[in-house]
Each structure stands twice: as C-alpha cells, then as structure tokens.
Amino acid sequence: MDYTTLNWVLMIATFAVMIGVGAMSSRTVSESDEGGFLLAGRSLGPFVGASTIVATGFSGWGFMGSPGVAFEFGAIEVLGNFFFAPAMMIAVLFFANSMQKRALKMGSNTIPEYIAQIHGGGAGGRLLQGVAALITIVLLMVFMVSQIKAVGMLGASWLDIDMTTSAWMMISIIIIYTMWGGLAAVAWTDTIMVCGMVLGALVITGQMFFSVDLSDWVTRLNDINPSLLNPETAAPYGESKGSVFFVLPYAFLFAAVLPYMAVRFLAFRPDVKMHRVGVYVAVMGGVLRLIPIVGLYMRAYAPALAEADQAMPMYLQTFMHPAVQGIITLFIIFAMKSTANSMLHTVASATSHDIRLALFKDAQHDSPRALSINRLAVVGLGLLGLFMMMYAPPFMLSWLGILGSGTLLASMIGPVFISTFWQGTVPGALTAMVVGFLTSGSLMLMSDMGWVEGPLIGCLASSVCYFVVSMATRRNAEARRA
C-alpha cells in the first residue's frame, strides 16, 4: 500500500480543520477592538489556555532533538527536558494570575505594551514598548525561521516532495488561519494539535514499555555504558551533577517572561481559575516530556545509528507500522507548527501594534484600520520568515540562533517579571533590557557556556541593573510625576 497517499489525505484533512477553526475564531475578532485579534478577546478557558501554553512551549525539539541527546548522553536529558513541565505549571499557578490582573486593569494587549504601561506609559513607556518589540522581533524571527525550516524538511520527506514546496504549504496554512482568527485561531489550533501530540506520546511510551522487559532494558544500557543511567556529570548541561537543576529556573522564566508564552496569561477569561489550568498543564506536559526516553530505547535496542539525531526517525521506521509512523510524523509536524504559529502571531503583533504605538504618538489604540494592519503584518512577516529561510546568509541565521530565546529571556526578566511585583523606573527597565541582552548574548556567542547558564547569568545581571538603576532614578521619576 502507498502510505504517502495516506499522508496526503491526513495533511489535507488537518489543513481543512485548521482553516475551519480560523474561520470560526474570526468571530472573536472585530474591527474596532484590537484585543479581539491580539488576545482572543480575553476568552480562553482553562483547557484551551493550558493547551496553547503546553503546545507553544513544546517545539519540534522535544520530538526530534531531545531523543537524540538522550541517545548520546543518557537519562540526564530525560530529566533536563522534564523540568519544562513543572516550570510551566509553577508559572501558571503562582505567576499568571498576578500578571493577568495587572494587564486587565491597564488594558495591555501585548507584552511590550504591558512593559510600557506598568512603567507609567507616556514617552518613556513608548520608548520601552519600541525597544521590547524590536528585541522580540529580531530574536523570535530567527527562531520562527528555524521552525519553518524544520517543518519544511520533515514535511518534504513525509509527503515525498521538495523542501521549499513543503515549507510554502506549511507556512501558508499558518498564515491563513492566524490572519483570519488572530490569537483565538492560534490557541484553538494549538488545542487540536496538542491532543495529537499527547496521543503520539502515549502511543510511543506504550510501545516502548510494553515491548521489552524493564530489567533487560536497564542491563543493556549499563552494559553499553554505566554512565548512561548513572552519570558522573550533568553533561551536556554542565560539569557538576547539580547543573541539570538549573533547567528548572530557566524553564520557569521561559514560561513566565518570553512574550510568546506570557501573552497567553493575558488572554485567559478573567474568571478562569488558574489551579484548573495548572492541572491540565502538569498532566499534558508530564506526558509529552516522556518522549526523550525514545533515545534510551534506541540506545539499548538499536545501537547502530550513524548520527544521534536519527534516534526518533529510525525509531519510527523500525518499531512502528508505516501507517502509525505517518500519523505520528503528523503529530511531530503539529509540535513544530504550534510553536511557529505562536511566534508568527507575536512578531506580527510586535510589528503592527507595538512599533506603531511606539513610533506614532497620536496612533489610535483601537483604530478602525488596526485589524487590517495586524492581518497585513501576519502575512508580511510569515512571508519574510519563508524568504529568510531560503535566502538569508546561513552565518546570520546561526549567529542569531545562538542568541535564541535565552537572550530574549535575559532582556525581559526585569521589565516583565520583577515589575509585576516591584515596579521599577523607565531607565531601570531600559538598562535591564540592554544589559540582559548584551550579557547573555556575549556569553552565548563568545564562551562555551551552555544554553542554560549563559541566559541565567544574563538574567541575574539584568535583574540587578533593574533594581539598582530604578532605585537610583526613582527620586527623579517621582519629582517629575509630582
């Protein structure tokens, strides 16, 4: 039987569902209220909200990259990757509510706008909004390009077509439903996609644990290398065993601070109970974080791999029926698309809403043309991402890719996270963003520090600057206000 035909049927069916969801979500979007497009009209319930948080935070890396790292370094990757699940749950249970209430009171529609308003608005606020939007656009664009590339490559082998055509198809669908329904469409499609991802994780975990004897699995791994299950270091996370635990604060800040994650807290219906969201996040996140175990399974039962990165593709090829293999590949494409659509929506909002309000003093907040501008930004930036994937110099993409979301996190910790509990000043927030960006960026580019430690040191430097500069300039700010 030709399973490529089945894959095409699956793809066309899911594309039709997603466009349908986009059309239905467009009801939350109205011409004169930007919150409809940017924040789904603050309408997300507990399950949809939890689903979009988990789906966005779980990129293609979880399915493809992480099992490869587990194959090479052992169980330490399973533990390191797992920390994202409790971190998201902690962010939802103990931070989301405070942020949501403040944003609702101020009427913030995006994270850069939240930063501007929490620091008093005015000209200083507009400056902060512009800088935060610019950093967000630069650092997220490259991340989005890498997701488009990954989904394009996987789609090409899945559908037996060339990579450019595959990337065009995948990004076009994302552009259509995001443009049509804004964040509501992104959140609802994420919900459908995360259900598929969780189902895929359950099928994979079930196959692994029911097909072998656990003690045989452990014996085989110990025979290959005892440090696969009992490592002396936390490599690739760091030299000391404790280094792996740094992933927890990193992942917490990832969920609470990054604009494409934190904006979801603003989009919840005001009466939603965050403890219900926390339960969904913990359960779905916990199931998805079992996937890297595939690396340990492959190491024990299929040791001849040319490259560790082949762990998941070879696992599917060796241990799954071709039809199931096709369906799980669709779920992996879902993981990539659910991250890419959130990034597209965030960079488009930063361009059409934040940069517009920062540049033009008299720009209207909910102008009648705002919806068209927001939709145009989605199309423009989606196509820009595709062209960057095809034509941008590889050194530029890899250079920006190294900075990644860790540097964005270090830039935003003071103005987004600390400001929710302790309000600093505009110069404090500006200094924190610049220092966080430079510290994390230089550590990532010029030292051999890992992707966890560099951004965390950047976060520390940024937080200290936010506090010290805000204290030093507070009197001036108060005098000016008086």
């Binding site: 169980a75 533990l79 749950m89 249970l93 299950l229 109970k273 403890h275 339960v279 913990a282 359960v283």
Partner: protein, 37 residues
C-alpha cells in the same frame, strides 16, 4: 532503579502531580468555604 537520574525523574514527576492536584483541591475547597458564607 539504582540510577540517581531515573529516581529523581520519578520523584519529581510525583511531586509535580501532588502540587498540581493539591493546589487545585486546596484552592477550590477554600472557594467553596468562602462561597458558603
């Protein structure tokens, strides 16, 4: 399982679920008490 990584992984999974369901139970029973007054 005689592996500190796997033992920590299992322990933390259990802790995460206890915190999630425990917080939900505590907060909802507090809300019910407040609603009943």
């Amino acid at each position: 399982m005689n592996s500190w990584v796997v033992d920590t992984f299992l322990l933390l999974n259990a802790v995460m679920l206890v915190i999630a369901f425990g917080t939900a139970w505590l907060r909802s029973s507090r809300e019910k008490r407040q609603g009943g007054r």
